[in-house]
Amino acid sequence: MIQTLTSIGTLVIQLVFVLTAAPLAAGMIRTVKARLQSRKGASIWQPSADLIKLFKKEVVRSATSSWVFQATPTVVFVSTLAVALLLPILFKNVPLHWMGDIIAVIYLFGLGRFFLALAALDTGSAFGGLGSSREMSVASIVEPAMMLSIVSVAVTAGSTDLSSIVQARLANPSMTINPSQLLAFAGLYIVTIAETGRIPVDNPDTHLELTMIHEAMILEYSGRDLAILEWAAQLKLFIFLTLLANMFFPVGLASDCSALGVLTAIVLLLAKVLVLGLSVALVESTNAKLRLFRVPELLMVAFILSLLGLILHFIVGA
């Protein structure tokens, strides 16, 4: 009984934490970017305030669209949030970790992307089609790189189970500075930038530019639908940063529900995400967006890095 309660408690804490922290992390990256561009920038609470505002606004739906357009925000949000049930975010051992491994995580993101790309085609707008086509093209070259980088982490743990990966890394933290793992980290970092639609692959701040990808897909969304989609995008960014942080540096994860443990975990995770977020902001401020047909080259780099990491793992045996 107590065990069930702790399990539920663990899940609830993790979900609530992710839901609140995600808009904050997005706000933080925006603030850092503003500072790097010598602007004052908005408060880091701005994205959260935007969400609240959008939730209160009226939804305008296209007359051309169908139930696919209506259902998509929920599908995207739910499939992203489900990852938070599988991933050790604050706790070493997530109660429902047996529900899905890292491969399931990749395909859950795929489910959200599939519906978002469909919804973009649903309104009949040319912008939607443009975003949808580009998103699916970029995704198809991201996927192999992502799979390989994740495999090179998984082989060190001998499992694709996320909690096992984290625990194996905790037992042997020096593994992270192995050349093979550094390469895998670099590969996964590039994948994160591509998957979450940051510069140099996509520009999250653009709106109505011919170069946009993610924004083009959600162009016809408004009000509460848009709020849910924006929130889902922030969740995805946060989850990817957490994935990078916790798979490679799983320090400070809580092993139980004690207040002290959870608090330490929260502080440490926020610190790790802050560092990674800083680096993302730095990359975004110092790079120009790539031409669409240059993106495959960048992702090829990620693929090669991960493949090298894997081969190195077998040769050096570490």
Binding site: L19, F55, K56, K57, E58, V59, V60, R61, S62, A63, S66, V68, P73, T74, F77, V78, A82, W98, M99, G100, D101, I103, A104, Y107, L108, G110, L111, F114, L118, L121, D122, G124, S125, G129, S132, S133, M136, S137, V138, A139, S140, I141, E143, P144, M146, M147, L148, V151, V155, S159, T160, D161, S164, E220, G223, R224, W231, F293, P296, L307
Partner: protein, 677 residues
């Protein structure tokens, strides 16, 4: 029970042929032929399902010796777990397709010879079922040929269309080459075993010298590979599947090509047993090539049925990844991992039959409603055909291997089987496995892109032609079987545990290992190997549903009741969004065509007519061609060589009877000398 199954198929055949002979009579006869024919096909399929379930879940094989005839003795029907599994898969899909055909074939009633269609359909079902239960090489080959012939005629059903004729002849030519290899294979077996019976081959096969085994392996790979449609032996497939009537396409794509997989599994695992490592690596290489190229070619297709046909090549690739992994691991002596790979492959066999059958039936309904297969002329069908759209969407999500549907579970198993190979200390494995895994990931993502295109352009947005505008929902008798297939896709997605014991039975009979109880009944898909990940697709689906509370609840808490309004799509300043301004399927796949331009070698041609001013173009013509590398660089040269040889051989054909008599005399003399010496 076998008798009933055969009798059912034959009853349909009889009625079919009788009605076929009286084709120009009143319209009552074809209708009766249709109803009786498909009803008997349906009953036979249902019996087939029961029969295969009995064998699979009891684990007891059925052996039925047939009375010897003058030319053939030792005839038997053998239903071991492997046969039962394929029989079940075939029966499952043919039950749904038979039901669908009641409504679908109505269109042909007044136009074509329905009796013939029914006759061929039943014969086709009978031959497929026969192929997987035959216990002797001779009837196996006869049924195999019967299967090729019935499908040849079915592809040629709309024979006034030159494309259909070309497709049918290409198909029969490739099939014959395949059968030639199979005959060589069985003759080689006979030389060492002195019997055509499968049981005898199974017993004596370990004593066959390894060089001969390799030749047998290659013969089986080519012979069955042609039927399965692996690249580069696939060229008949994208032509043949679209040409046949849609109900037949569903069967060809869903189950007929799987008889090739059945043959491979039978020969590789049941007869030959573990071979050298390169067998598995070769199969994995072919598998990865088929998967990636199949989906890449599918992406450039606008013909809905051709697109689905290319996806069959892709899925055969995915299935063969499991088979290849199993071969590789069994050659290294790790039978448990081999069993996992084989289970993954077989699981994908049944999953692909379900969703590909569903998608082809959906394409058939779209074709019937709009009279076009070109998706560039479709659009907006979700409003006109809501139920068909829903079922097609289920199929699309399943084939894109997205959770929580069945395609995801079998691809996940394939990933796990491959990844667990890392535990084997063997260098080739460690190089081949990650590459295969990466290519499987690429395939999955490209398949998702392709089905966003296929579903999005066909069913969403605005209709692009009058045909699409005037479309109407399919009849209820066509929707029902599609609904059943969709439900099965979901059921196997959330409760894969239902089928897993069956795979245990099969791997036990072939490899002597069963992935133990942990693999079976429970909600979680735990693998019996330490370090394997786990998934619980049912629980995952439930939690996805439960999490819906979050966005809905938060929305309600913050914003109260949702206000909504409908408005036209923003048209960038134009008056309204017109169908012409929508994205096209060609436009959708453009980035991928650019990225993989080395593979496509596409040539396009743009022709702009400028009349008034360069800014207002009355007409733009755009033509795109992708090169089929294999046809150009493999088949055409071979064909040219064959033609050159025939031309040379023509010199011997003088047309004078004296010359031929001389030939006969010389041959006779040579034979006599040979026998004496």
């Amino acid at each position: 029970m076998v008798g009933v199954l055969a009798a059912g198929a034959f009853a349909g055949l009889l009625f079919g042929s009788r009605a076929g002979s009286s084709e120009n009579g009143s319209s009552r006869l074809p209708r009766a032929a249709k109803n009786l024919g498909f009803a008997s096909a349906l009953i036979a399929s249902l019996l087939g399902i029961v029969l295969s379930a009995l064998v699979l879940f009891s684990g007891k094989s059925i052996h039925l010796a047939l009375p010897a005839t003058l030319v053939l003795n030792n005839l038997s029907v053998d239903i071991d777990p492997l046969s039962a599994f394929f029989l079940g898969t075939i029966s499952l899909l043919s039950a749904a397709v038979s039901m669908y055909s009641f409504g679908y074939v109505n269109e042909y009633l007044t136009k074509r010879n329905v009796g013939l269609l029914v006759f061929l359909f039943n014969l086709f079902l009978f031959s497929m079922a026969g192929v997987v239960v035959a216990g002797n090489a001779v009837p196996f080959l006869i049924l195999w040929e019967l299967m090729s012939l019935t499908t040849f005629f079915l592809i040629n059903y709309e024979h006034e269309n030159p494309a259909s004729r070309r497709a049918a002849f290409l198909y029969i030519a490739m099939s014959q080459i395949g059968t030639a290899f199979l005959i060589v294979m069985f003759v080689l077996f006979y030389v060492y075993v002195h019997s055509f019976s499968f049981a005898a081959i199974r017993e004596a096969a370990p004593h066959i010298p390894s060089a001969v085994k390799t030749i047998i392996f290659l013969c089986a790979l080519v012979g069955f590979g042609i039927k399965a449609g692996i690249i580069p032996l696939h060229i008949w497939l994208p032509e043949a599947h679209p040409a046949a009537p849609s109900n037949v396409s569903a069967l060809m794509s869903g189950v007929m090509i799987k008889t090739g997989i059945y043959g491979m599994v039978r020969v590789f695992f049941d007869f030959l047993g573990p071979g050298p490592e390169w067998w598995g690596i070769l199969v994995l290489g072919l598998a990865a090539t088929s998967a990636v190229l199949g989906v890449l070619y599918a992406l450039t297709e606008h013909d809905l049925k051709r697109l689905l046909a290319f996806h069959s090549i892709e899925n055969i690739g995915i299935i063969l990844m499991g088979v290849g992994a199993a071969l590789l691991f069994s050659s290294l002596g790790n039978n448990l991992l081999a069993a996992l790979g084989l289970a993954a492959a077989l699981f994908h066999v049944v999953n692909h039959a379900l969703f590909k059958g569903l998608l082809f039936l959906g394409a058939g309904s779209v074709l019937q409603a709009t009279h076009t297969r070109n998706i560039e002329d479709l659009g907006g069908l979700i409003r006109r055909m809501p139920t068909t759209s829903l079922f097609f969407l289920v199929g699309s999500v399943a084939i894109s291997a997205l959770p929580p549907l069945n395609g995801f579970v079998s691809e996940w198993l394939t990933y796990q089987a491959l990844l667990l190979g890392f535990n084997i200390a063997d260098l080739p494995v460690k190089i081949v496995v990650p590459l295969t895994v990466a290519l499987l990931a690429l395939t999955g993502a490209l398949a998702a892109a392709c089905f966003v295109k296929a579903f999005g352009i066909t069913f969403l947005g605005l209709p692009r032609s009058r045909h699409a505008e005037e479309a109407h929902e399919a009849s209820r008798s066509m929707l029902l079987p599609m609904g059943m297939l969709a439900a099965l896709c979901i059921l196997l997605g959330v409760a894969p545990g239902l089928l897993l014991p069956a795979f245990g039975t099969i791997t036990e009979s072939l490899l002597g290992v069963t992935p133990e109880q942990t693999f079976a009944a429970s909600v979680t898909l735990n693998l019996p190997v330490s370090g394997a990940g786990s998934i619980a697709p049912g629980v995952l689906a439930a939690s996805l549903l439960a999490l819906v509370v979050v966005p809905v609840g938060v929305g309600f808490l913050i914003g109260g009741k949702m206000m909504k309004r409908t408005a036209p799509t923003w048209a960038c300043g134009l008056e309204r969004v017109a169908p012409r301004t929508q994205y096209t399927a060609t436009g959708f796949s453009k980035p991928i065509r650019m990225i993989f331009s080395n593979i496509y070698r596409a040539t396009h041609e743009i022709e702009v007519s400028e009349e008034v001013s360069p800014y207002f173009k009355p007409r733009i013509r755009y033509e795109l061609k992708t090169e089929s590398v294999f046809e150009k660089y493999v088949y055409v040269p071979v064909l040219r060589g064959v033609l050159r040889f025939s031309r040379a051989a023509r010199a011997t054909q003088t047309g004078h009877i004296q010359t031929y008599l001389a030939y006969i005399f010389v041959t006779l003399l040579a034979l006599l000398l040979l026998i004496r010496g």
